[in-house]
């Protein structure tokens, strides 16, 4: 038996027995009683003095020496004139009624009740950046099946999970991204397939290749994709033979026309066996062609004479030509801002242009260490993906000078084509090692359906991270990527070379007459001329 029984005191407090409580009260009246009695209990803990203190009310507690004083409503005489209110919460209002209900949540945004918010938020940002690193597993899987390098790809407009790929041995396949299997094959090309495109209405697939043919295929309907097995489903709808080998093909966004690139740019109607129009500007081979997503009659091409040319189909002659110091391998239009396009250049950089003002690039995107082979914009228009000869895939922000992400694997060889999926969540790359590879567009993104609370939390962490992203520690973690050794070395070599060139130019400038060597911004430096 303890002599410090709080339990008894608390139960009596809860019972609120008035007759018991009336014995002792606050104030002067009480002082006399209790001070006298407890002095006794301090001196000797004898039973009788404790009894004397407690009186008759605690018989069931074996005469414990603890007493509970509180006041009853009987003593009205002391009440002074006043207004009083204290915080009083009834438990019912602040807890859920039934166990099936959601727990009730109350918010108070007062800064005083949460101290050191700034530090907490900073720690959260840091942790979010670290967690992003931990969860960064961008590679989903490889799609194996081709027996030669992948040269071109196009999305299946009928389905989110369909993609066509063409390889250097003339094989064309339709893949199901979800199961990562071939759904059907389109045999026929004798040489390499160099261009693939699907019409926006999802009826026709156009392929062209180095065997000087353009082939039109029926795109299998959506439910046919679910049937398993790589069947040689279809014969081509049409085969058009032309004079020269083809390098690229692209279908108009809105209409029946597609364009091929080869010795010249040919404009084809779907239903005619011969081109309806041809453009030629210079004698060099045109290597890529891309229609403008906003204005269906405008298309951009790049040629091996290091030029980027814009054509308008409504005019008989080509529109505008820009010659750079190195060749452009591919261009891609920004689908959300269709006057802007980005060119993937041989000199390891990508250049974003406004087609109305081509004197200088809007932005130079550098980071690759070898020629950029292909480029594709995300449907959101906020970022684009590039594949390069240096065996990496990089993702850039549309206005970012450096890449935000780099993807590489040990087995991936030179990347010849890259595509965003229709929803912008996945990236497909095709490379020299005969595989298509499926990547997440955001390396640490959680796949699958998110609960609203999960989503909110991730959005919160994302914004906190963004808010602190300029601080050195967060920046360091967010920016850091492990690079394969050859790429790391090549990058540092490139930096050395660029620095050396800069130094040399500086010295030349210092030793030449003032004004003879004006400094040129990097955005203009690689552009030679613009021809109207």
């Amino acid at each position: 038996m303890s002599r410090f029984d709080i339990r008894g005191a608390l139960t009596r407090l809860l019972q609120g027995n008035p007759s018991w409580a009336a014995v002792t009260t606050f104030g002067e009246g009480r002082n006399a009683v209790s001070s006298k009695s407890y002095s006794g209990s301090l001196d000797n803990s004898s039973q009788e003095s404790s009894h004397g203190l407690v009186g008759a009310e605690s018989q069931q507690d074996h005469g414990l020496p603890n007493v509970l004083f509180f006041v009853t409503r009987a003593e009205q005489s002391w009440v002074r004139k006043m207004k009083v209110k204290v915080i009083s919460r009834s438990t019912d209002e602040f807890t859920r009624e039934r166990s099936q209900d959601l727990q009730r949540v109350f918010r108070n945004y007062d800064p005083n009740i949460r101290t050191q918010e700034a530090a907490t938020e900073y720690v959260r940002a840091l942790n979010a950046a670290k967690l992003d690193k931990i969860f960064a597993k961008p590679f989903i899987g490889a799609m194996d099946g081709h027996i030669d390098a992948i040269s071109c790809m196009t999305r299946n407009p009928n389905q989110l999970k369909g993609i066509f790929s063409g390889s250097m041995d003339g094989d064309i396949r339709l893949w199901d991204i979800a199961s990562r299997r071939t759904v059907s094959r389109f045999p026929g090309h004798q040489g390499a397939v160099r261009g693939l495109t699907a019409s926006t209405d999802g009826c026709i697939l156009v392929s062209c290749g180095s065997d000087c043919t353009v082939r039109l295929w029926n795109i299998p309907v959506a439910n046919a994709m679910d049937t398993d097995g790589s069947s040689d489903s279809s014969e081509p709808l049409a085969v058009y033979v032309w004079k020269n080998a083809f390098w690229a093909v692209d279908h108009q966004y809105d209409g029946d026309i597609f364009a091929t690139a080869g010795a010249q740019v040919d404009i084809w109607d779907r239903n005619r066996s011969q081109p309806v129009n041809s453009f030629e500007w210079g004698k060099d081979t045109v290597i890529s062609v891309r229609f403008n997503p906003g204005e269906p009659n405008i298309l951009g091409t790049s040629a091996s004479d290091r030029s980027i040319t814009l054509y308008d189909l409504r005019m008989s002659s080509p529109g505008r030509k820009l010659i750079m110091k190195t060749k452009t391998n591919a261009i891609s239009w920004n689908p959300q801002e269709p006057m802007n396009f980005t060119a993937a250049n041989e000199d390891c950089n990508c250049y974003s242009f406004d087609m109305r003002l081509m004197k200088e690039a809007k932005c130079v995107h550098q980071d690759h260490v070898s020629a950029v082979m292909d480029i594709d914009y995300s449907p959101t228009g906020r970022e684009f993906v590039t594949g390069s000869y240096d065996r990496t895939v990089r993702i850039f922000n549309f206005d970012g000078g450096h890449s935000r992400e780099i993807y590489h694997t040990k087995r991936m060889q030179r990347v010849f084509c890259v595509k965003f999926s229709h929803d912008g969540t996945y990236i497909i790359s095709g490379s020299d090692d005969t595989n298509l590879r499926l990547w997440k567009a955001t390396a640490s993104q959680q796949l699958g359906v998110l609960l609203p609370r999960e989503r909110q939390k991730q959005e919160y962490l994302e914004s906190v991270k963004k808010r602190h992203s300029h601080l050195p520690e967060v920046k360091r973690i967010v920016r850091h990527r492990h690079l394969p050794k050859p790429i790391y070395k090549a990058a540092s070599l490139r930096r050395t070379m660029v620095e050396a060139e800069r130094r040399k130019n500086e010295r030349r400038r210092a030793h030449s007459a003032p004004g003879t060597m004006p400094t040129q911004p990097f955005r203009k430096r690689r552009i030679l001329t613009e021809v109207e």
Binding site: I6, L13, F26, V84, K85, P111, I113, R114, Y122, L471
Partner: protein, 545 residues
């Protein structure tokens, strides 16, 4: 007339002072204004120091968002809060400090009236108390080894144990599951079942006070010899050990605003410490005599100290100046969430309040216990209008209307927390645990742009001082004893002169350089002031006439 007035009006509205864009207090009604100010959390960040234009733009946009959020929060506070603050108002000439507890208790509702109680535990006292951050649970500890956890909502006893040793202080860790007890030789950590989990043998030497910094998961102890120790309770790593060198110290409080630990010493000094720095950040002489108690305001701008010199002082922690001085002793001090100050001395408890929020504290309530009770600890219960008292004869609590924050935030501290919520919160708290380095005098400095570092030239006077110092240092050099005639007095004198000249030289060169540049400047000015044709006659350096 009206037609003429209209364009003027529009013009007036369009003209907007450049910096008012971010003041954000504009465009809200008068009653919202102070609230918006509160949520703005001080002045906007100084972005002039940011060199990067793009970053500056982004930060400016965020500042704007911040202002918008403050407005929204102010509106939410105005309309959506479920509870209202308590108050006590006397009518007529009556003073609030004359109103007795019993009259308050008879006036309030029956649930609230039960929150005031006395539990007399005469054998194992004197008692000390501590609340969890949500105010739901209280731990009490008697000097002779009696420890108990009480649920303050249901008034149920959760656990009671006897440690059979002297107990000097008790503190909850991050939730009710763990608490630390400062016992005779070591602090111990128990869980809510009363099982001893850890004995902190590193913290030996008779710990006198314990504090838990819940943002950092640091348990702080000070012992008889004035040794201050920090231990991380989540990892068990000793984070800091400082010898104060000021002797026995039994006054320790955490500043909740920045988690700085304040110590009150017997020499009348108050020192403030952080775990990662071996010397006190602040040393101030507060009293002519030992410091007996101290407390920090939640907002971080106020500190109250009490000393044996019969003074209770309120300090402005931004300027480290005394704001007010009251006469009286205090064994224990505590600030409530709403800024009320309680002081306990002998059997009397006083509560002070600044009615207008201007730090002009005046007596608000007073309460006297049974004569002879010695109040050893006063502690406001968070989120309730209750003051808990630990005294020589047990524990008590009294009602103090207006002391507690009426509205809790479920994600910060929830008095109605279920056990699963508590477990989840524990995980989140651990994820958000702050590193000990983040403890600093100004916690708002984190994540703000750094001010530009300007390289200032030393003034003429400073340079002269430096030269003096260099000369005296050179004069103090003792020359080696040389042989073969090189130790002759003349040689030694010469050597001494050389050393002196060598010491002076850099300063003289500096002076000369400055003189030259000044001269050049003057010539340039002269040249500029003359007409073009006469400029060639300006006297250049070295020209002889």
């Amino acid at each position: 007339m009206g037609g003429k007035e209209d364009p003027n009006m529009i013009e007036k509205e369009e003209v907007e002072p450049p910096h008012e864009r971010f003041s954000n207090v504009q465009g809200v009604s008068d009653d919202l204004e102070p609230k918006v100010k509160k949520y703005l959390r001080g002045d906007r960040a100084d972005l002039e120091v940011v060199k990067d234009k793009r970053l500056k733009g982004q930060l400016e946009f965020r500042e704007e968002l911040h202002g918008q959020t403050a407005k929204n929060a102010a509106k939410a506070e105005k309309w959506l809060m479920p509870c209202e603050e308590g108050y006590l108002e006397a009518e007529g000439l009556e003073k609030t400090y004359r109103i007795k507890q019993e009259s308050i208790i008879t006036e309030v509702d029956i649930l609230s009236s039960r929150k005031a109680f006395d539990i007399v535990l005469p054998d194992l006292g004197p008692y000390t108390v501590d609340y969890t951050s949500s105010g739901r649970h209280m731990v009490v500890a008697g000097r002779k080894g009696h420890v108990a956890i009480i649920d303050m909502k249901t008034m149920g006893l959760i656990r009671e144990l006897q440690v059979r040793e002297t107990v000097r202080d008790v503190a909850f860790l991050h939730n009710l599951e763990f608490f630390a007890v400062a016992q005779k030789k070591y602090p111990y950590i128990y869980n809510s079942h009363g099982t001893e989990l850890h004995c902190l043998r590193d913290h030996a030497g008779g710990p006198l006070r314990l504090q838990f910094l819940k943002n950092h998961f640091l348990l702080v102890s000070i012992n008889k010899y004035g040794q201050l120790r920090f231990i991380d309770t989540s990892t068990g790593v000793a984070v800091g050990y400082h010898r104060t060198g000021l002797g026995r110290c039994d006054v320790m409080e955490e500043n909740p605003f920045n988690s700085i630990t304040g110590l009150g010493h017997s020499c009348g000094k108050v020192t403030m410490w952080k775990p990662t720095y071996g010397a006190p950040l602040v040393k101030m002489l507060c009293h002519h005599g030992p410091v007996t108690a101290m407390a920090f305001h939640n907002g971080g701008h106020l500190m109250a100290t009490a000393g044996m010199d019969r003074k209770i002082k309120l300090w402005d922690l931004r300027k480290f100046e005394v704001l007010r001085t009251f006469t009286g002793h205090a064994k224990s001090l505590d600030f409530s969430q709403k800024g009320l100050l309680a002081s306990g001395n002998g059997s009397r408890v006083h509560i002070w309040r600044d009615s207008w929020g201007d730090q002009n504290y005046s007596l608000y309530m007073s309460h006297s216990m049974v004569k002879g009770y010695q109040v050893g600890k006063v502690a406001f219960q968070p989120y309730e209008d209750v003051l808990g008292l630990g005294h020589s004869m047990g524990i008590s609590s009294i009602l103090v209307p207006g002391s507690g924050e009426p509205n809790f935030d479920s994600w910060v501290a929830n008095p109605y927390e279920t056990s699963s919520q508590r477990r989840e919160k524990e995980v989140h708290e651990l994820l958000d645990k702050l590193p000990p380095e983040s403890i600093d005098l100004d916690p708002k400095k984190i994540a703000l742009p750094k001010p530009m570092r300007r390289k200032e030239k030393p003034s003429q006077k400073e340079r002269e001082g430096e030269m003096e110092a260099a000369i005296t240092a050179a004069k103090g050099i003792r020359l080696k004893k040389k042989t073969k005639g090189r130790n002759k007095p003349s040689k030694r004198e010469k050597k001494k002169q050389e050393v002196l000249v060598k010491a002076k030289r850099p300063f003289l060169e500096e002076n000369m350089k400055e003189e030259q540049s000044r001269k050049k400047q003057r010539i340039g000015d002269e040249e500029a002031s003359l007409p073009k044709a006469l400029q060639r006659f300006v006297r250049k350096k070295g020209a002889v006439i």
